[in-house]
Amino acid sequence: MDFYNYYALLYIDDSTVAAGVKEFEEILKRKLAAADLLNSVKVLETGSSGLKDYGIGLSVYPGDIHYGNLSTADIDEIINEHFIKGRVVTRLIVKPPEEQFRTSELGPQDVRLQNRIVLSLSGVIDPENIFEYFAEHGYEAIGKILEEKVSPEKVVGIIKNSGLQGRGGAGFPTGLKWDFTRKAEGNQKYIICNADEGEPGTFKDRLILEGNPHLVLEGMLIAGYATGAAKGYIYIRGEYDLSIKRMEKALSQAYEYNLLGHNLFGSGFSFDIEIKKGAGAYVCGEETSLIESMEGKRGIPRLKPPFPGTHGLKGSPTVVNNVETLANIAPILLKGAEWFRSFGTKSCPGTKVFTILGDVRYTGIVELPMGTTLRQIIYGYGGGMREQRSLKAVHLGGTSGAVFDESMLDIPLDYDSVRNHGGMLGSGAILVLSNTVNMRDYLESVLLFFKHESCGKCVPCRIGTARLYDMVKLLETSDNKELILNEMDKLSETMNKTSFCPLGQSLKFPVQSIHQYFGDEILRS
């Protein structure tokens, strides 16, 4: 192995690519070559820093220096000062806002890394190099299971004991889901990784896939072994170009090192994984719609029961797990259920990846223990409101979640507690709205989304979404706004009780909570 004086990590994800990181990298490398520094500075590509939206970011080790908001004009200075003279360019340093947190409330450790399970290696390793994953205990969990002949029952038992719940939104216990499929009869069983992330305000799965694709593959392997499946699919939404490319590369590396394919670790266990590309339909995030879509049909939901666990893809027993769920599997098997339970709350152990968006100073993603409060996330990690605006509302859990006002900032965020407060944690999206947002206009944008994405299979949702959109438009001009708001509550309640799938069922959360918390504003306007 070659040794370098400096390692410069460039964060490559959709966001930084949009900011021009590729051009930056090319010029940086050219200038390093011109300065004859290629033997002393190693430029490495890594996944998203997951930190905050800092534009083009570069971290330099040793020294743990983080530069952000870079442009190509800064390259000369970084080379001359930092790489040649060893002097840090203070002007370009960005300080993660959670550093304040680190010293004041949560102790001196590096909270950001301490609390990470699924993102612990994102932005640290090169996702396109399988050796970097090996070096961090990659594929050790599945290797250990196969070599020590740990029984599938025992693997399922560990996941059950860990208390891991599906991270896609519904929060169903993962171990139980696996057990249904393990016990189901069938010659062929399937594992599907649901990477059809379409919930507005959510891009955590994209960052996991881009930052550490092998972690997801290892989770799928373990799921396959535990349930008796020999075939896995990753259903990635068609718009996630970089995720698809990274995953394709990861797959070919895993095959190259016999971590996928026939007779793995000489155990007799075989497992194959294929990528399936989606074509743009929000409803395909629902597991039975996703299965329909994978069979080449319109992505409309199926009647449940029977559940996919026993009757899924091509009628065979199928486990559908979210990306974040699968990314938790290998760490749990390596470190144990007890370790996992040391994070989060009693009823909802582990961490959750949250996305912070909207009118905060720093948007981005952060992985924190379940039970962290909205206030901690918005003010600690999001850096508070931007441009001295004041906080008006928080849309929690994605478009289909409830919209809360400031009074709800201190509820702990886990599946149970948010549900008890009339909302849902969903995908973990936290969209912060400032006082500049008109709540009727906002509700209109939410309802427009649902009107567009309703799949049309069932009457309540197909007609209900269209009628709710008409009604929110009417609110703009009507003299009897109160009547309309009440009717919207009733209609969304009916949709909740009669719609076929969660899309129509969950519309009541945004509609009724906006009425409850911001009805006065709408009536006055």
Partner: protein
């Protein structure tokens, strides 16, 4: 690549329908799926044309309308909305003189609305073919469009 060559690469199973449609559309000069192509696909998979049509109409990435060289997909989900996607839409509309689902006269751009593109940290955002642009302002979107126009000169 023509449709016949694309079909040769697939087993005649219905589960391949979406991928076949992706490939045909990517290869098509006008980035769309025409009735005659859909008929070929239906015959190949031995399923009714109505089913192929149904799938084409269901997914937002497929289009039967002829489209320009660059497809602008503007996110109109709530996170982009609160960061001003409406103004971006107005700017594009005025600058290129096209509305939703329309194509410029020079066949260079088609404007479509899209659901969340998953880059909400950079809202408002737009995807032009495979490239994503974020933190858009009324000024920057015009610069981006200019970049594509200049490529043609």
């Amino acid at each position: 690549m023509n449709t016949e060559a694309i079909l040769k690469g697939y087993e005649a199973k219905e589960e391949n329908l979406l991928y076949i449609l992706h490939d045909i559309q990517d290869a098509a000069e006008e980035h769309n799926l025409t009735d005659s192509e859909l008929k070929k696909v239906a015959d190949f998979l031995k399923i009714p044309v109505s089913r192929v049509n149904g799938v084409t109409g269901f997914y937002s990435m497929f289009s039967k309308r002829s489209r320009g060289k660059y497809i602008i997909r503007l996110c109109q989900s709530p996170p982009c909305y609160i960061k001003g996607s409406v103004n971006i839409y107005k700017t594009i509309k005025e600058y290129l003189n096209i509305s939703e689902n329309e194509t410029t006269e020079d066949r260079l751009f088609t404007l479509e609305f899209s659901s969340c593109l998953g880059v909400c940290g950079l809202a408002p955002a737009v995807m032009i073919n495979d490239d994503v642009y974020g933190n858009l302002t009324e000024k920057s979107i015009i610069e981006i469009l200019n970049k594509y126009q200049n490529l043609e000169e």
